[in-house]
């Protein structure tokens, strides 16, 4: 190990965390080797600074001053209470769900189609082993740390043509034992041919404890399957979340993700999607509402490898205080991917002159018969529209809220499930009221 090459406190702490916990992390010999390789690669790479292009606007070397110790996990209190407080809005909307819950990285309870990955790793089936060895997850330091240190996660295997009645919800909640902790989860999801499923990831951080959380989700979507995938991250000040979705899409498949990020913490959500089969659709909506000195980064890489696929992204960011929003969307259209139809739009509403929005759409097109486009805007609330509303008797503050909600609403409306759309809308509205 090349510890001497690293110089930040956080990097040193991450390495020490691994040394202290390696023996207790789940997985057999093969996985332990992968974990060692990952931490080794991290040791030589270090946390990315802004000189690493993918992290140009999210300098983790500077942003993570220290790394919290790995959470011991679990909870002293009632599991139900912890889940309830993490899931308030969803319960408020009376959405019936199949729930798998984690308290600080340890499995708490599971019902329905989901089970605990740590359990499955004792004798992992071949498909899980091959996902664990996915080289593409070694691309950046945030992913390497997750590979080295994840303690558990959800394992969801949806059979061909199955259509679970309720959304499958993964909750990662802060337990009540520790005030500062690092949490790493790895979720593994396989959706069989022709299946239809709605997945929800809830990453919420307790009101009086700080967390550094890392969550990587690997999804394989079979031919003709339809997957709706929602993620909510609420990060308080002093907390961070580094998330990543690695998605492989079959033929004639549909993948509709949505991500909501709220709070004042440091959040980065990466998404890599590969179109491996023809005539598939990817339709992404995201909303970030960031206050204070919060930072929300959405970084996408969309790889069109085959012809006749469609990708859509709509990103809405509301920034207040000294908050910073980042959108990076790279669409790669490989030579075989003729008739690709890709469009992306990133829009920011600036509520404060001190907020910053960095938007970097990129197109890399190697095929000649494609329709690809992107757009990006950053604007304040239109004073003319505020006047129009107030002239109709709507108080200024209500008018502003109405206009902000409508801005965000365009993305939230992409959520198909009525109850979830309502719940996500409620969380977004609550965070605007801060």
């Amino acid at each position: 190990m090349t510890v001497q090459m690293l110089n930040t406190k956080a990097e040193q702490a991450i390495l020490k965390t691994f040394e202290d916990n390696a023996a207790r992390l789940p997985g057999g010999t093969a996985l332990q080797e992968l974990r060692r390789a990952a931490i080794g690669a991290f040791a030589s790479k270090g946390l990315p600074s802004r000189r690493v292009e993918e992290f140009k606007y999210t300098d983790l070397k500077a942003g993570l001053k220290d790394a919290f110790p790995l959470a011991k996990g679990g909870a002293d209190g009632k599991a139900d209470d912890i889940i309830r407080s993490a899931l308030g809005a969803l319960l408020g909307a009376e959405v019936e769900t199949s729930l798998i819950a984690f308290a600080d990285g340890r499995g708490l309870s599971a019902k329905g189609e989901a089970s605990f990955l740590a359990e499955a790793l004792k004798t992992p089936p071949a498909w899980i082993s091959s996902l664990m060895a996915d080289e593409s997850l070694n691309a950046s330091a945030d992913l390497l740390v997750n590979s080295a240190l994840f303690t558990d996660g959800a394992l969801i295997d949806v059979a061909a043509d199955a259509a679970p009645e309720h959304p499958l919800v993964i909750v990662s909640a802060a337990g009540d034992r520790e005030t500062e902790a690092f949490v790493a989860l790895r979720h593994v999801i396989r959706v069989g041919k022709g299946a239809k499923v709605t997945l929800v990831e809830f990453d919420t951080i307790g009101r009086d404890s700080a967390r550094q959380s890392s969550a990587v989700t690997q999804i394989e979507i079979g031919d003709g399957a339809e997957v709706h995938h929602i993620k909510v991250v609420a990060a308080r000040k002093g907390s961070s979340h580094l998330g990543h979705w690695q998605v492989a899409l079959g033929a004639n498949a549909t993948y509709r993700p949505f991500q909501l990020t709220v709070g004042e913490g440091l959040v980065r959500n990466g998404l890599n999607i590969a179109f491996n089969g023809q005539h598939s659709t990817f339709d992404f909506g995201a909303a970030s509402i960031v206050h204070g000195q919060g930072h929300a980064d959405s970084t996408l890489v969309i790889e069109h490898k085959v012809p006749h696929c469609t990708s859509r992204e709509l990103f809405k960011t509301v920034l207040d205080g000294q908050a910073r929003g980042v959108f990076q969307g790279k669409v790669i259209v490989l030579p075989d991917a003729q008739k690709t139809d890709g469009k992306q739009m990133a829009q920011a509403l600036m509520l404060s002159p001190d907020a910053e929005f960095d938007s970097k759409p990129e197109l890399e097109i190697y095929a000649d018969d494609v329709a690809c486009g992107h757009g990006s805007t950053a604007a304040e609330i239109d004073p003319d529209l505020v006047f129009y509303c107030t002239s109709r008797g709507i108080p200024k503050a209500v008018a502003r809220t109405l206009l902000i909600e409508s801005f965000i609403g365009e993305a939230i409306d992409k959520i198909e499930h009525d109850g979830l759309r309502e719940a996500i809308g409620a969380i977004a509205r609550d965070s605007l009221a801060v």
Partner: protein, 251 residues
């Protein structure tokens, strides 16, 4: 009663003076028209009445029912009964027409100490009023004014007016961009709101609208002041002679 007294208005960011001592009284139950050439200050008057930012009143006052409204925010004025039908109604992407109408109607009702409309009550009223204005109810489920034709936008303004039940209606160039059929529908909508407790100020460049909304008085506004006041026949005179006599140059 609306009383505008010796109103002087300049643009906030520039030295340009637009209204230079405008005095005008509109009693309840009457409809007054303000006609004038382009650049005479018609729209400025409309915006200052509604309380838009960007204008500075340097002298004079505007009283509505004896109370000065100059220091009031636009929403307070709306609660007091002031309504401006915009020359160019704005599009609000993402806000459904019904949501907008209901939020506005209940905001003014609340400030007027009236009970807020329940959903069924609101739906009933809005359906009735929309039908009278030939507004397709489905259109109100779409975002406010987004993708509407000029005529649809103007009808949407009159529907908002009908929903808010103002006591002072200011119509800014409501006839612009309307074909003859739309003009008839909009005028009928405005005429239906005429009543003994309501004052109306109809701002227009052309006499055409005043064939449909027949005013009690006509004022000629030029160079920031009322130059002449007369009966409805004054509008016909202007149609024949133009504004040249008031501005010293052909309009």
């Amino acid at each position: 009663m609306l009383e505008i007294k010796n109103l002087h208005v300049k643009l906030e960011d520039e030295d340009k003076v637009i209204l230079k001592g405008l005095t005008l009284t509109v009693p309840k139950g009457e409809v007054h028209a303000i006609m004038g050439p382009n650049g005479s200050g018609k729209s400025t008057l409309a915006y200052v009445l509604a309380g838009r930012d960007g204008y500075e009143v340097t002298e004079g006052d505007i009283l509505w029912n004896g109370e000065s409204i100059l220091e009031m925010e636009p929403d307070e004025r709306a609660a007091k009964g002031v309504f401006l039908a915009f020359q160019y109604p704005m599009e609000i992407p993402g806000v459904a027409g019904l949501t907008f109408l209901r939020t506005a109607a209940n905001a003014v009702r609340k400030k007027r100490d009236e009970a807020e409309l329940t959903t069924p009550e609101f739906m009933k009223v809005v359906k009735e009023k929309a039908a009278k204005l030939n507004i397709d109810f489905e259109m109100l489920k779409r975002p406010v004014n987004v993708g509407f034709s000029g005529g649809e936008k103007k009808r949407s303004e009159i529907l908002q007016m009908a929903m808010l039940e103002p006591s002072l209606c200011v119509l800014d160039e409501t006839d612009s961009g309307l074909d003859i059929d739309a003009l008839k529908v909009v005028s009928d909508g405005v005429n239906a709101l005429r009543g003994p407790d309501r004052a109306m100020l109809v701002i227009t460049h052309y006499q055409r609208l005043l064939n449909h909304i027949v005013p009690d008085k006509v004022h000629v506004l030029a160079d920031g002041r009322i130059q002449k006041t007369g009966g409805k026949e004054l509008a016909h005179e202007l149609e024949a002679s133009g504004y040249a006599g008031y501005t010293g140059k052909a309009a």
